[in-house]
């Protein structure tokens, strides 16, 4: 049935060494370039070359150290090459995008630009990480954006400077910063549990359940926002010790949002890969019936997934309020679509059971680079939408082609 093609094989060690040597060469080249032949015209290109070289070498090292797990031999066949390119297609795509933009506008290669992109990706990444488990179980979460708005409004409303003219709670005493933050996040967590309950207990499809809660949350948020004496005015006059959570720049350059996002990413990676809960999520997404037969507590896991999502959206909302030093009930509108798109492009399968944290990070980066980069080279925002849509369609098509099964006849 399956024909064995003549395969070229190479010992994995040799394969690894090729990458290692290439990587080191690129790294050294970049170093020399930067130190000896530097011209202002290429901005920070040499240092980027060093990073690329380090990554290539790192891949080589990884292949060397994991020979036992991956197999002694590397096969070169059309099938394998195709699989390889599909696996790293996203990174290639991102790379190509950056190269094109850099050629058109070389000052894109400044380190400050890189930091900007990373900090703009941070909050989106947190929300995408929250939505990821809901997609892993072949569901979705349309309430993400409105939860962000709710958390922003709640936290901002309680953290205004006492001397501000339009205080939300005029007589509220000064609260330690963490209390409104915790309240905002907990409220979103509770709404997340509601989502989980609708899906787990009433068997609602997550699309419908979260669509309903999305609308409810927006309504509640707007009602809260409209409370006297605020009457739907944008919330302003935010205390400094709150805004600093999102606005501080470490060493004057690196936005604090970046390490925050990295921390959340590491935590989510740990949860998905190193805990029983995480394994159960993949099991439910892979085959819910088999999960049930194996004794996985599907009910509690579903509630946990949506509650955790709510907590992450809440955190994202708090950061949004801090970053913009304000909040309105319309904050977060549409965020879920970007998050879902980023996950899909990042290889999280809508059919469930497949997806990695690394893919999500790249998915978010791709969209931020598109937005930022196209703006950078002066492309109209309308074009950005078109390109965004094309990337989503292509990425998902490429992803699905990996799992094409032939039907019997």
């Amino acid at each position: 049935m399956r024909m064995e093609q003549a395969q070229k094989t190479m010992p994995r060690k040799k394969y690894a060494n090729i990458f290692l040597i290439t990587g080191v060469a690129v790294f050294v080249f970049g170093l020399l370039f930067g130190l000896l032949f530097y011209t202002k015209k290429v901005y920070d290109l040499p240092w980027y070359l060093c990073i690329v070289g380090a990554c290539i070498a790192g891949y080589g090292v990884y292949q060397r150290n994991n020979t036992g797990k991956l197999g002694e031999e590397v096969c070169f066949s059309r099938q394998q090459s195709k699989a390889f390119f599909l696996k790293y297609a996203l990174i290639f795509a991102l790379f190509v995008m950056i190269v094109i933009i850099a050629i058109i506008s070389p000052n894109f290669l400044q380190f400050d630009v890189c930091l900007d992109i990373l900090s703009q990706s941070s909050i989106r990444l947190i929300i995408a990480l929250g939505i990821c488990p809901t997609i892993l179980i072949a569901g979705t979460d349309l309430s993400a954006g409105r939860m962000v708005g709710l958390a922003a409004v709640i936290s901002a409303s309680m953290l205004q400077v006492p001397t501000y003219a339009n205080r939300f709670f005029p007589n509220l005493p000064a609260l330690p910063v963490f209390i409104p933050i915790i309240i905002a996040i907990l409220v979103c967590g509770v709404f997340g549990m509601l989502n989980g309950l609708l899906v787990a207990k009433f068997n609602m499809h997550p699309f419908i359940a979260t669509l309903a809660t999305q609308v409810i949350i927006y309504g509640i948020c707007s009602l809260y926002f409209d409370l006297p004496p605020n009457h739907s005015q944008p919330i302003g006059g935010i205390k400094n010790d709150f805004t600093i959570i999102a606005q501080k720049k470490i060493g004057g350059k690196v936005s604090i949002l970046i390490p925050i996002a990295i921390l959340v990413t590491v935590i989510m990676w740990f949860v998905l890969n190193k805990t029983v809960f995480g394994k159960n999520i993949y099991a439910i997404g892979g085959n819910m019936e088999a999960a049930r037969v194996s004794g996985v507590n599907v009910f509690m896991t579903l509630i946990g997934i949506f509650a955790l999502a709510g907590i992450l959206y809440g955190f994202g909302g708090v950061l949004e309020a801090a970053r913009t030093a304000g909040a309105t009930n319309n904050y977060g509108e549409g965020y879920e679509l970007d998050a879902i798109a980023a996950c899909c492009v990042g290889g999280v399968s809508l059919a469930g059971g497949i997806g990695k944290i690394s893919g999500i990070v790249i998915g978010v980066l791709i969209f931020t680079v598109i937005q930022y980069g196209l703006q950078f080279i002066g492309v109209s925002p309308m074009w950005q939408q078109v390109i965004k849509g094309v990337i989503i369609a292509v990425a998902v098509a490429v992803d699905l082609s990996k799992y094409k099964k032939v039907l019997w006849h």
Binding site: K69, K279, Y282, A291, R292, S294, N297
Partner: protein, 500 residues
């Protein structure tokens, strides 16, 4: 043109799927206006043969001759146009649409560009008259009883002017009265020149209504006989009569007398499922459960395992009455279940062999919810190696493994939960002979280490070769429990076809 004495001839039909030859030079000849029974046990090839006739499968080789003319049937649409209809065992009407729409779907009577509802009602009423069905054409299909749904399907066949109607287990959900009504309808179909191919395992019915009987076994056709010349026993003997070769490891171990599991009068929550089931399993025993499709064996073990509800009855393990309301309860009490369809409810296809092996027992390697990876990998590798799972890496996706290796991973999965009673539902289905032998060897090793096994199997040789005792079920009831030395294929099949 020579007038053929047969309305349908299927000659030298062969059909293979990867790894299995489903039909091997099969022949079927049906006379016009006759009721022709097609008999054989699970996996004999009856469904496959009919699916080739109905355009669902394409035969690999052979010819189909309809009314003396050779035809190539490539789609069900074509089959319908050629006058062949099939009424499947499980009916799936479009529930929330009127009955008449279910019948005329795809060929609605039209008035210009709109559907002619009045004409549809009239045509449907006339159709119903022909099959003696007295219902309003406009009622929703959902509101009909299984018996009426079936008559609607027959009406549909008549509306297609079918000359050949295939009925797959038509009386499986019918009462005695409904069955006699169905037989009256079949007789009237015959009178109008329609032939019926009747697939069933109910011997008495076959001899009552059928003119001829074709018997299949293991993908081959044994021949056709007039029903008047056959007896139930003869049919059964031919259905199962095969050489029992040495496909099983030698079994020296004799099970003990200690009763590890006692099931008392267990009744399913669903009244259509198993009722009043009682049996005992001893320590170190392989307890086989035989029967045909529809016997509710899977439903029985799923209920013991906490996947389905129990209305009444007791489960007594090691002398203590236990309450099983969930899979967690079952696991806690030392049960394990390897399900019938590993692709549907066993394996997590895209996940790694490592994850597949540890999913049921992962609590053992976790502290406060965090998995100790090295402990987990070590245990999984050890168990998989013990069962001889062939793979270069634990990270490979399980769907890349052969069926036999997948099944071994599933057994390894459950062994990691330390059960004392393993329930195996069709443990060697879809597995090659060599892998089957390996699984049998594993089973023997398990009982020698003190575990007990409940094994559901539709393969007679497997039951006779491996089980110490065999409980046979038919339509949800236990029809008999045989000891190894008193069981043979005929007695099992007799018990399996013993309807109420």
């Amino acid at each position: 043109m020579v007038l053929s004495e047969y309305v349908l001839e299927m000659n030298h039909i062969t059909k293979s799927f990867p790894g299995v030859k489903a039909l091997d030079d099969v022949g079927l000849k049906v006379r016009p206006g006759s009721v022709h029974a097609l008999v054989g046990e699970n996996g004999a090839g009856k469904s496959t043969l009919m699916k080739c006739l109905y355009g669902i499968y394409h035969k690999d080789s052979g010819e189909i001759i309809l009314n003396g003319k050779k035809v190539e049937i490539t789609s069900t649409r074509q089959a319908l146009d050629l006058g062949i209809s099939m009424i499947p065992q499980e009916l799936h009407p479009i529930r929330f649409r009127p009955v008449m729409e279910n019948i005329w779907l795809g060929r609605f009577p039209m008035k210009g560009i709109a559907v002619d509802k009045r004409a549809m009602i009239e045509k449907t009423k006339e159709l119903f008259r022909k099959v003696g069905l007295d219902i309003n054409p406009e009622v929703l299909a959902d509101s009909l009883s299984p018996s009426n749904l079936q008559l609607v399907e027959i009406a549909k066949a008549v509306s297609y002017n079918s000359k050949i109607v295939i009925m797959d287990e038509p009386t499986s959900s019918l009462t005695e009265n409904e069955t006699s009504h169905l037989f009256k309808v079949i007789k009237s179909l015959q009178k109008s020149g329609c032939a019926v191919i009747y697939i069933s395992h109910k011997m008495e019915e076959i001899l009552k209504i059928c003119d001829e009987v074709t018997i299949m076994r293991d993908g081959k056709c044994l021949g056709a006989w007039p029903a008047s010349e056959m007896t139930t026993d003869e049919i059964i003997r031919m259905m199962v009569g095969r050489e029992l070769t040495n496909r099983f490891p030698k079994k020296d171990y004799v099970p003990g007398k200690e009763v590890v599991l006692k099931i008392n009068d267990l009744c399913s929550q669903s009244p259509k499922s198993f009722q009043h089931v009682s049996f005992e399993v001893h320590k170190g025993e392989i307890f086989g459960i035989g029967g045909l499709v529809g016997a509710q064996r899977t439903e029985l073990v799923e209920s013991i395992f906490g996947l389905r509800g129990i209305a009444s009855g007791e489960i007594i393990k090691n002398g203590k009455k236990i309450d099983i309301k969930s899979v967690r309860d079952a696991k806690k009490n030392g049960f394990a279940l390897v399900t019938e369809e590993r692709r549907a409810s066993g394996i997590f296809g895209h996940l790694s062999i490592l994850d597949n092996t540890t999913i049921a027992g992962q609590q053992k390697f976790a502290r406060h919810g965090v998995i100790n990876e090295s402990k987990r990998v070590k245990a999984a590798v050890a168990e998989d190696k013990e069962l001889n799972v062939k793979t270069p890496s634990m990270d490979k996706a399980i769907e890349d493994l052969s069926g036999g290796n997948q099944q071994k991973v599933l057994i390894a999965r459950w062994l990691l939960t330390n059960p004392d009673i393993l329930i195996l539902d069709e443990p060697t289905r879809g597995i090659d002979v060599g892998a089957k032998y390996e699984i049998y060897t594993i089973m023997l090793g398990l009982i020698q280490s003190g575990k007990s096994i409940i094994m559901i199997s539709s393969e007679m040789p497997e039951l006779l070769g491996m089980a110490d005792r065999i409980m046979v079920m038919c339509e949800g009831r236990v029809t008999g429990i045989l000891n190894r030395n008193e069981a043979d294929q005929v007695s099992i099949m007799r018990l399996a076809t013993m309807s109420k």
